[in-house]
């Protein structure tokens, strides 16, 4: 990419960082619940075991997903140009994500609403496949941000940018690897979360799975990080972040082995945070777009909202982000207990329907 002389204001920088923060919140939090959901059919051998898995994330997954929605809303408000070009450019991938989110969201709420095993199995697979699709598409998406999505000014409309790469250009080998890596990374993160939140058989199985998939995450993640630094590097900071990210994964793996589930979870969480920071560093200041063919660039300055809007939003974020963090943390505290099959109630016999 051409190094443009971009001089963002403090507010623009702040909002770029805040959007990165919202994505990080989403990736760390919903990352594990995607992982857990993908593991429902894999680790849950009977209905009660599957219910243990689901109940580890039951009270919190919806709150986790809001981080994604807030990232989307904040992008719309703070960088309308970014939101407009990105969401219309990634049209079909976003459609896939939406359908997958619909299915997995309903799965948790609806699976227990009928006694038939076939009904439950269907929703379990819906949750697993839905989570898999979202992870895969997001991994591909973020890899494309790292590469830079080519944009051009739409005919005769200064300031209106369109993505010119086309649908199939999104599936480069680098991007496909990114998709697979994110799936594997979330599986690792999710298995560790399960190990942390369960007791008994499930706990052991989650650990064993984490040790296996962890090797894949370390290997695949390492290759992707190396590739992105060699081909789309950001210099020394990028290399340092890569080392920290890799160290986090290795640390997590070692901690799983030593029965230190909490530390292992911190390991994958730190690794995800650092990888995301690296990606957003790379997306500065062109927001993940490749402007080399555009007459005027689409970047943190040209895509931005006005100082007035950014100021209003800053006040709102300053007041409410800490409050949100406070009550979300509290809800994790309330549901801090580990679960096992012993905690799962038997299904009540249903009453006779009226009428």
């Amino acid at each position: 990419m051409i190094a443009m002389n971009v001089e963002p204001t403090t507010l623009q920088l702040l909002w770029f960082c805040l959007i990165a923060l919202l994505w990080i919140g989403f990736l760390v939090l919903e990352g594990f619940d995607y992982g857990v959901a993908m593991l429902i059919p894999v680790l849950g051998r009977n209905d009660k075991e599957r219910r243990v898995l689901i109940n580890t994330i039951g009270p919190v997954w919806d709150g986790n997903e809001v981080w994604l929605l807030t990232a989307g809303g904040a992008t719309f408000a703070a960088f309308p140009g970014w939101y407009a070009t990105l969401f219309s450019g990634l049209y079909l991938p976003l459609f896939l994500i939406l359908i997958a989110l619909i299915v997995r969201g309903l799965a948790f709420e609806y699976r227990a609403k009928r006694p038939e095993q076939a009904w439950k199995d269907r929703w379990d697979w819906g949750a697993a496949i839905g989570s898999f699709v979202v992870s895969l598409v997001l991994g591909i998406g973020f890899s494309n941000f790292v590469k830079g999505m080519p944009v051009q000014v739409a005919d005769g409309r200064q300031g209106v940018h369109v993505f010119t790469g086309g649908f199939w250009s999104l599936f480069s080998p680098f991007a496909l690897l990114g998709g697979v890596v994110l799936v594997v990374l979330f599986l690792f993160h999710g298995a560790i979360f399960l190990a942390l939140k369960t007791r008994g058989d499930i706990h052991e199985r989650a650990k064993a799975f984490a040790l296996k998939v962890g090797l894949g995450a370390i290997g695949g993640g390492g290759v992707w990080l190396l590739w992105s630094n060699l081909a789309y590097g950001t210099g020394l900071p990028g290399w340092i972040l890569m080392l920290v990210a890799a160290a986090g994964l290795v640390f997590a793996w070692l901690m799983v082995k030593r029965e230190a589930d909490g530390w292992a979870f911190i390991g994958t969480a730190v690794s995800i945070v650092v990888i995301a920071i690296g990606i957003f560093l790379r997306m500065f200041p062109d927001l993940g777009f490749d402007n080399s063919a555009a007459e005027t660039p689409l970047n943190i300055v040209t895509a931005s909202a006005t100082p007035l809007t950014l100021t209003i939003m800053t006040w709102a974020a300053g007041v409410f982000v800490p409050i949100v963090l406070g009550y979300q943390a509290w809800s994790y505290w309330v549901f801090r207990r580990r679960l096992s099959v012993a905690n799962i109630p038997d299904e009540a016999k249903e009453a006779e329907p009226v009428g």
């Binding site: 919806d62 809001v66 219309s88 619909i102 300031g159 007035l308 949100v324 549901f335 009453a351």
Partner: protein, 521 residues
């Protein structure tokens, strides 16, 4: 079909569908919170049974609202990217606020409420359902603020350098007169809808509890009296008579009264909203009435048409029932006020007159707006005319049924256990539900040809990079998925409605790590 038409159909389908779940969620959350509060205060377990029963229906419905809501937030950028870019500086902030203030609150505290029965002290647990309900209603404020800007774009200016609308006064965006009346109107419509659901479900159960299909008022009276005695002697756990009748009676009465109150509120707020609409969107008012020629203002008043048989194209209708002078009053507040007709407005607009000449954004963007070359300034008249009438008529019809329900419930009576009553109870919640849909269809289609009234034409807002094929794929995809989910959702709702009030047991707090949870997915 071209891109604009497809994008509009998609928005229409996904939004109307989403709005089947939203109004129920908005008010049912509060209704459940009220039931739980009554239980907390009185310890009468009929309220706890109602809380759990309607809580379950609330959650089945809420889940659909959540997942279809994500599509709403994303499709502005996907299908309407030029609109998003053009108004994002104003329109984006309410959406971000909605996520930050409303979504986090409702999702986190609903999670705590669902799973927290045995982990939180009862008072704190009760607070969770209230906060979740408040969260869902905060959403309405922000969404309606965003929508009101589209109806009446105040608080913004046009910046020719960035070629977009920009925020000038956030206070003006939040005090938009359209918002001030559409917000209570929408929230009251939600109350009417959710209360109609509760009234219908409990009203139907009461009919089923009406012994053996024979309306035996004496027996029901005796049962009601027995329950009243039991409730007053503070429910001993040992003797447990079934209090289903008392519970449903309370819910049905409460809901039917809530419907009356919201009905009155809807008339008042709708009337005020109509007057604002006449000022800022006179064409929409004329289109609501299929009023082709300007009427009133010359000593006579414009009549309000109740219904018309005919073509609504300005030619003489076959049959029309009208109330003299009422339209003048609804639109202007005086019985002989002048109401501009479609023809006069169309003529003025095609000569370049602004929709609201005092609107700053419309003034500043006027030249660009004219350059888009909008020719027809008239929405589809049969759609606006009939959706407006269906909105009012379906809402009022439901209130009529609620009156009938109250009539049956008077002096300890029960509704008849008959087929026609069952059908009436099926139809009662559908009335306000579809009234909501028609209200939105009216207000959104009545705004046409504008995306932002008097500023950005609808055709100018679509995504420049999206193809017709992509739109077809997503349109078909959403329609199929939404269709399948509708079957699942309605099936679950009916199943849980028929299962009736659950038996409840006292909830104990978890202390040991092997304690069985009182609730788990």
């Amino acid at each position: 079909m071209d891109q604009v038409t497809l994008a509009r159909w998609q928005f229409g389908i996904t939004t109307v569908y989403h709005w089947f779940f939203v109004p129920i969620t908005l008010a049912l959350g509060f209704i459940v919170a009220i039931f739980q509060t009554l239980w907390y205060r009185t310890r009468d377990d009929k309220y706890l049974r109602l809380t759990k029963f309607y809580g379950k229906l609330f959650l089945i419905n809420f889940a659909m609202g959540v997942v279809t809501g994500i599509v709403q937030e994303f499709q502005f950028g996907m299908n309407w990217s030029e609109y998003s870019r053009f108004v994002g500086d104003i329109f984006g902030a309410p959406l971000a606020f909605e996520a930050l203030l409303a979504f986090f609150l409702e999702s986190t505290f609903l999670g705590l409420w669902i799973f927290g029965w045995d982990r939180l002290p009862q008072r704190l647990h009760l607070m969770c359902i209230w906060l979740a309900a408040i969260g869902t209603n905060l959403s309405a404020i922000f969404i309606l603020a965003a929508n009101s800007f589209m109806q009446n774009p105040q608080g913004a200016i046009y910046n020719p350098v960035t070629d977009r609308a920009e925020m000038a006064d956030f206070g003006a965006v939040l005090t938009n007169p359209v918002l001030l009346w559409s917000l209570p109107h929408t929230l009251l419509a939600s109350w009417l809808t959710a209360a109609a659901l509760v009234a219908a479900v409990s009203g139907w159960h009461l009919a089923k509890l009406n012994r053996a299909g024979v309306p035996d008022v004496a027996e029901a009276k005796a049962a009601a009296a027995a329950e009243a005695v039991e409730a007053s002697t503070a429910a001993q756990p040992a003797k447990k008579t079934d209090n289903s009748v008392a519970a449903h009676r309370f819910a049905a009465t409460f809901a039917a009264i809530a419907m009356m109150v919201s009905g009155v509120g809807l008339l008042i707020t709708g009337d005020e909203a109509g007057k604002i609409m006449t000022q800022v969107q006179p064409m929409k008012m004329a289109a609501a009435e299929a009023l082709w020629e300007t009427a009133g203002g010359d000593g006579s008043g414009a009549p309000f048409s109740i219904f018309t048989i005919g073509t609504l194209d300005g030619s003489r209708p076959i049959l029309q029932i009208e109330i003299p002078n009422l339209l003048s009053f609804l639109a202007t507040g005086t019985w002989d006020g002048k109401v501009q007709g479609i023809n006069e407005l169309q003529e003025a607009y095609s000569q370049g007159q602004l929709v609201d000449p005092s609107n700053k954004l419309q003034q500043a963007y006027a030249e660009h707006m004219r350059a888009w070359g909008v020719e027809t300034h008239t929405p589809i008249i049969p759609v606006t005319y009939w959706s407006f009438r269906l909105m009012i008529g379906l809402g009022m019809a439901a209130i009529g049924v609620a009156l009938l329900l109250l009539w049956f419930l008077r002096k300890g009576g029960l509704p008849p256990n008959t087929k026609w009553w069952t059908w009436l109870m099926v139809l009662m919640p559908l009335g306000p539900l579809f009234a909501n849909s028609f209200g939105w269809i009216f207000t959104e289609m009545g705004r046409q040809p504008w995306l932002v009234t008097g500023v950005l034409p609808t055709m100018a807002g679509v995504s420049p990079g999206v193809t017709v094929l992509e739109l077809w794929i997503t349109l078909i995809g959403y329609t199929l998925v939404y269709g399948a989910l509708a079957v699942v959702e309605v099936g679950l709702m009916l199943k849980y409605i028929r299962l009736g009030l659950p038996q409840v047991e006292p909830v104990t707090q978890i202390t040991d790590e092997n304690d069985v949870l009182s609730f788990a997915y």
